[in-house]
């Protein structure tokens, strides 16, 4: 009896889980791209760009992600750009994550002694080669723990995009509650689903960290 119920509720929730994973992966990739790019731009001498990046980072770090999502979803629609919930969710979480990871990568790049780059230039590497072969591999190692923690937080924070009706786990959960009134069971199942996604990810990050610390 209970088992049947779980099966009936599980289907839609699993469907939501697929969306959750898709949003997480897409937003993570975009956030890493944005964060790394902006952190690297901050190493250049273009003062005006530093300024713009600082504004972006502070705006997104000091407002709730839910507010940001509403602004993107409803705000853009108000301006005449209709964005569907799914891409709007990815855009919102990417921009939010980009601001967080800009700081993570900036700190990671800053932790590397300037002599590392000098030695690379001295052997005849271009600045680009020095970045590619000397600086980034070291930055990667330093930023991996915060990056992993961010990925885990992101996976759970995708729940917030149900607020703009992106069809992920919590969106389906709420619909199921309205139609079946199985409030507790539905949310227990949703929580279990998040746990099943997050726990292996956390272990993976842990293992990655251990392997990376072979040198140092």
């Amino acid at each position: 009896m209970e088992f049947d119920k779980i099966l009936n509720l599980g289907g839609p929730l699993l469907l939501g889980a697929v969306t959750t994973v898709q949003i997480t992966i897409a937003a993570l990739i975009m956030a890493i791209f944005l964060g790394l790019t902006f952190a690297l731009v901050k190493l250049t001498r273009f003062r005006a760009l530093h300024w713009l990046i600082d504004i972006y980072v502070e705006l997104f770090r000091n407002t709730p992600v839910l507010t940001q999502l509403f602004l993107i979803y409803f705000g853009l629609a108000y301006l005449g750009f209709k964005v569907a919930a799914f891409p709007a969710a990815i855009i919102g979480l990417s921009l939010n994550g980009g601001a967080i990871l800009t700081e993570v990568f900036r700190a990671g790049l800053g932790a590397i002694h300037h002599g590392q780059r000098e030695a690379a230039l001295a052997v005849g590497m271009t600045p680009w080669a020095s970045l590619r072969y000397i600086i980034l591999p070291q930055t990667w190692k330093i930023t991996l723990p915060p990056l992993g923690n961010y990925a885990i937080a992101l996976l759970k924070d995708t729940a917030v995009v149900s607020a703009i009706a992106a069809p992920e786990i919590m969106f389906y959960a709420r619909n199921l509650v309205t139609s079946t009134f199985e409030t507790t069971l539905v949310y227990v199942l949703a929580a279990a689903l998040y746990f099943c996604l997050s726990f292996p990810l956390a272990r993976m990050v842990e293992r990655f960290e251990r392997r990376q610390s072979a040198w140092q």
């Binding site: 000098e118 030695a119 230039l121 001295a122 005849g124 590497m125 591999p137 070291q138």
Partner: protein, 256 residues
Amino acid sequence: MKASLLHVQDLHKSFGSLEVLKGVSATLERGHKTAVIGPSGCGKSTLLRCINYMETPTTGHIYLDGELFGEKEVNGKNIRMTEKELARQRAQVGMVFQGFYLWPHLNARDNVAIAPMKVRGMSKQEAYELAENMLAKVHMSHKVDEFPERLSGGQQQRVAIARALAQEPKLMLFDEPTSALDPELVGEVLKVIHELADEGRSMVLVTHEIRFARDVADWVMFMGDGTIVEEGPPDNIIGNPQHDRTRSFLRQILEH
């Protein structure tokens, strides 16, 4: 007539309002070794760092093998090279730093082999063979697989020397290569540099090791306050200095 290997022409360098080099000129012939000595802050390291454009001189020029270094002439005016052009020139000059600056994510072999691979486009096999030869030269064959953190300071510096040698450079620059070392490790590094000098390599050596400078160099420059106070063969400058500043510096440093 062939041009000198290195020609430094009236070099000035300021950091903000602080003038660190106040007009330094020098020439180095092939196979020769110049030691630069002088008190801290006299500009000797800055001079060395200007030679391969780690610092851009405020005015003045560097010529390597008769070729303008770090600058190019465009419409009759000298402008700074692009980073790509500069990298190609820097590859001809090996530099050894006070702080070693080995790359911690690479083992000794890769530290030495990466520039030959990525800068000169050698195959991995060729580059590894070269790296192992260079590591043998600095007596580090037994540590090719070690990562820098597992090496002593003296061993790290020897790997750093091998890394510079793998560039097959025309000129080697040593920037106080033993100043960061524990006293008991200085000897092994000086020994390696001495062996390189004996091979007839051209080098400019900034050092506080006065006795070593006297042994290895064929020319000594004493710098003070951004200029060359006096220069000449080591026996003259170290053995019989003419200037009060040189004398008091040598007295201070040799008493210890």
